[in-house]
C-alpha cells in the first residue's frame, strides 16, 4: 500500500506493508535512521518522533494509520546548519553521551516546550520519564531542557 507523509515539512510517498510500524518505515523505507529501535515494545523511547503535535513511540505506531500525517524526526530539527535551540542546549549542557537515546529525548522535549513553554523541573522529569537513558542519569538532559525553557538556549548554529 502507498503511504504519504509530511516528513519534516516535505511531502514523501512510499510503498509499505500493512504490518509495518512507523519506525520501520522511517528507517527502512525512507532512510531516516535518527529514530532508533531500543526495545521494540514502546518502553525505551529511542524511537520517539513527533506525529502531528504529539511525541509518540514510533515502534508502536502502525504506519498505515499515519496516512497524510505530519511527522518530525531528529533530522528535521536543525534548519540548514542552524541548530534548534534544544540541540544547542544539549551540547552546551553535556546532555549527550552515547547518543542512542538523544534524538528521542530531543523530540519529547520539543513537543513539551511547544505545548508548555515554561515547564517546571518536575514537569520536565515527568515529560521525559518515558525515555530511558543509561548513560547520563538524566541530570544534564533536564538542565538543557530547563535552560531552553528559561530562554537561555542560544539557538546559535555552530
Amino acid at each position: 500500500m502507498i503511504l504519504r507523509l509530511l516528513l519534516n515539512g516535505k511531502p514523501v510517498t512510499t510503498t509499505i506493508r500493512p504490518e509495518q510500524t512507523l519506525l520501520s518505515v522511517l528507517r527502512e523505507n525512507l532512510g531516516y535512521t535518527g529514530a532508533k529501535e531500543g526495545c521494540g515494545v514502546g518502553e525505551c523511547g529511542a524511537c520517539t518522533v513527533i506525529l502531528g503535535q504529539r511525541a509518540v513511540k514510533s515502534c508502536t505506531v502502525l504506519a498505515a494509520q499515519c496516512e497524510g500525517a505530519s511527522v518530525r524526526t531528529v533530522e528535521g530539527l536543525a534548519q540548514d546548519d542552524r541548530l534548534h535551540p534544544l540541540q544547542q542546549a544539549f551540547i552546551d549542557h553535556n546532555a549527550v553521551q552515547c547518543g542512542f537515546c538523544t534524538g528521542g529525548f530531543l523530540l519529547t522535549a520539543v513537543a513539551l516546550l511547544e505545548r508548555d513553554p515554561h515547564p517546571s523541573r518536575r514537569e520536565i522529569q515527568e515529560a521525559i520519564s518515558g525515555n530511558l537513558c543509561r548513560c547520563t542519569g538524566y541530570v544534564q538532559i533536564i538542565d538543557a531542557i530547563a535552560a531552553c525553557a528559561a530562554g537561555e538556549g542560544s539557538g546559535e548554529g555552530q
Binding site: 528507517r27 532512510g31 531516516y32 535512521t33 535518527g34 529514530a35 532508533k36 529501535e37 531500543g38 526495545c39 521494540g40 515494545v41 518502553e43 525505551c44 529511542a46 524526526t73 531528529v74 533530522e75 530539527l77 536543525a78 541548530l83 540541540q87 544539549f90 551540547i91 552546551d92 549542557h93 553535556n94 549527550v96 553521551q97 552515547c98 547518543g99 542512542f100 537515546c101 538523544t102 534524538g103 530531543l106 520536565i124 522529569q125 515527568e126 521525559i128 520519564s129 518515558g130 525515555n131 530511558l132 537513558c133 543509561r134 548513560c135 547520563t136 542519569g137 538524566y138 541530570v139 544534564q140 538532559i141 533536564i142 555552530q158
Partner: protein, 818 residues
Amino acid sequence: MPLYGDGNKDSKGYTYINKFFPRVDAKDKVTGRAKYAADLTLPNMLLGGALFSPYPHAQVTSVNTEKARSIPGVRAVLTFQDLREEVSWGYYTFMSSRLRYQGDVSAIVAAEDGESLAKGLAAIEIEYQELPAVFTVAEALAAGAPLVHEGNEECAGNIWAHSRYRARKGDAEAAFAQCDRLIERVYETLPVEHAYMETEAAVAAPDPTAGLMTVYTGAVNPYFTRRWVADALGVPRAKIRIVQQTVGGSFGGKEELLGLTASRAALLAQATDCPVKMVMSREQSIIASTKRHPFLLKYKVGVNNDGRLQAFQAELIENVGAFHMHEFMNFRASVHAAGVYNIPNVKVDVFGVFTNTVTAGAMRGYSSPQLIFGSEQLYEEVAGELGMDYVAFKRLNMLRPGDENACGQKMESDIILPEILDQVFAATDFERKRAAYREQQDVRRKGVGMAMFYRGCGLGAESPDASAGFVCVHDDGSVMINSGLVENGQGLKTSFTQIVAETLSIPPETIHFIGVDTHTIPDSGITAASRSTVMGAQSVKLAAEELRDYLLATAAMMFHAEPSQVELREGMFRLTGVPDAVIPFQTVCNVHHWTGQQAGVMRWFKPAPLSYDMAAGQGKAFPTYSYGCVVAEVEVDTLTGEVTVERVTCGHDLGTVINHKIVEGQIYGGVLMGQGFALMEGLAVKDGLIRHKNFDTYMIATALDLPEIRVMLFESDDDAGTYGAKSIGEPATEGVAAAIISAVKNATGLTIRQIPINKVSLLTLLNRRSQAAATEDSLAGATEDSPAGAKENPQGAATENPKAGATENPKDKEGGEA
C-alpha cells in the same frame, strides 16, 4: 589539593584541559547524523538471524535445514555442522550442538528481508534432548553435579580453575587465634543487565580490498571482535578489518555477544558473498549477553575490642554462568576485597563456578560494586558488634600513606580520603542526620548512609596496560588523532582531543579524532578498567610531544633560531624574548609539509612494570589508586517497603579533572546505575531461564527516580596518569549501592545481606522483625534457611538471619545500627 570548582578552577595552570569543552561528537549525535551499526545499509545487503536455545542445557539430536533453505528470500542456512571450529574464545561457541545456556545458538540464517528471515528460522527442523543442568553455585559444587564443561582441562568439576585468584598478607589463621572477636558474615548479589540502549549489531561485508571481510560494528574492543571473526572464518587477523561505528553504550558489555554477532554475520556474508546485517532484538540481547555476575561473599573478620581490624578472610564465589572470559575480574576482586582499610593479616580467595545460566562478564566496576556492598556492610556490622560507631571504626582502620593494602602494596602516593570524608560529611550534615534518624518510629523514615572505597587505576598487573597513539598534522594546520581505544559514549574522544590540545597548545577545534579502524593502528587492548584517560591517553600525549618537537624545529628554521628559543603557545609559535616574532600554527604546518618534515608520529605507551606475584597474591598491583566516598539519603515507607533515594553526594579523587562536565555526566549516570543495583535491578532467572527479557519487566531508573545528586570533585597530585588524571567511569557507580543500603539500615535498623532489595523483600524483612519482636523469647536461637545457594533467584530477596551472620557473640540475632 582544593576541591575542584571551589574558586580554584585553574589551579593546575592548564590551558585546554581542566575545563569544559563541548563534546566533539555532540553535534553529530543531536542531529541524528551519527551512525550506529544498525543504521547502515549496503548494496545487496541481507539480514541475518540466529536460532537460540529453548533450554538452559540441551543436546541437539537432529537438525534438518532443507525446508528452511527452500523458503523464498532465504539465502543461507548454516548450522554447527557447517563450522570448521565451534569453539572460540572463553569456550563460547559460534554455533554448537551442545547448548549450555539459553543464549547458545545452533543455527543462523541470512535472508533478503525480515519476513523471510523469520520464516526461515522457524522452518529449521531441530530436535533437542534436554540435559540435567545446574543453576546455582551450590548445585554446581554438589557432589555428582552435572558438568557444564566436561573434559575441559581448565575446569575442576564446575569450578573454573583459571579464575582462582588470591590475595595474601601476614597470617590470617594465626591472627584469628589472637583476636578478641571473630565475626562471620555472608552477603549475596543478583545478576544485573547492562541495559545499554543500543543492542548488539554488526554489518559484515566481503571485502577483498581489505583482505577478506570488513565488519562495521560498535564494540568495546574492536581487536577482540577481530579475533572472534578471524577465528570463525579461520583466517589471519590481518585479513579482517573492523571499522568502529558509533557505540550506543557499553559499560563493559559490548564484547562477547557483540563478537559472536559479528562472527555469525561474517559466516553468513562468506556463505552468500553478500553483506549481512545482524541486529539483536532487546530480548535476544538480554538472554544472550553477559551480566554483572552474582557474587556469594563469605567473610570472616578478626578484630580487637579497641576496634583495630587484625585479620580478614574472604571466600568470594561468582556464578559465572555457562561461559566466561574475564578471569582477571577476580584479580581485581582479590586485591580490593578488603576495601580501603589497613589490615595486617589477609587471606582472600576468589573463584568462579560454571552453571547453565546467564553468562558473566565485565560490567562497570569489574566486581567492585558487589564487593564494596559486601565489605562496607560487613564493617558496619563488625562495628555494631563492638558497640562502636561505624564511621569511627572505618576511620580508625582506613589506609593511610605508607600503609600496605590487602596484597601488601605500599601506598606510596597521597591518600586524600580523610579530606574527602570531612568535606562530604560537612556538605551533607551527615553526622547530625545520622544520629537524628536512629530513633524514628514514623511510618516514613529518613536514613543516611555512606560508603568509602578505593580503586586501582587502569589494568594494573592483570595485563599490559599498553596502547598505541597516533597524531599527525596536515599542511592546513588541522590535526588528526588516532587511537586504538574507543568512544563508548563516555567522552573519550573529547578528553583525548583536549589532552592533545594541551600538549601541542593549539585550540581543540583544530583537532579531529577518527574512530578505530583495526587496519590503521595496532591492538591497544580493551577500552575498560577506566583506563583510557589515565593510561590510554599517554601514548597520544607522547606522540603529540614528539610531533611538537618536529614542528618547533621547523618554526626555529623559519625564525633563523634554535628550537630551544621557540615555544608553541595557544596556536602560535613565538620566539622567546621577541614579542613581535610570532608565526601562526597553520603557517608553520604548511612549511613543515612542503619541506618534507615528519608530520605524523605513532607512539607506544606501556606503564612502568609492576611487580605482582599472581600465585602468591602479593605485590604491587596497580600504579596508583583513586579514592571516593558516597553519602546517600533515603526515605523508607515502612508500610509499603518502598525506598525513595532523595539525595546522593559523591566525593571523588580525580587527580586532575580533564573536563568537569564530562566527569559529572559519568557520575550522574553512575549514581542511577548504582541505585538500580541497590533497589530495582536483580535480573529474575528461574531454572536457568531469564524472566525479565525487556524493559517492560526489567526496570531501570527513569527521570522520575532521579535523586538530587551533588558532585564534589577533588584533585590530587599524582603523576601516574596522563596529566595526573585518575579513573572515574567505574568509581562513579561502585560505591552507590553500598551507601544506599547503609542509609536504609540507618532508617530502619535492618541489616540487608542481599541486593537488590525491592519493596517486597524489604517489607518481608520489616514484617519478620515485627513478628520477632512480638515473640522475642520464643524466637531466641531460631534459624532460617540461608539464601546462599537458594534454588531460585527471587528479585531482590533479602536476608536477615542469624545463620548467615554467625558470630561468637550470642547477642547477634539482629543486625543493628551502632
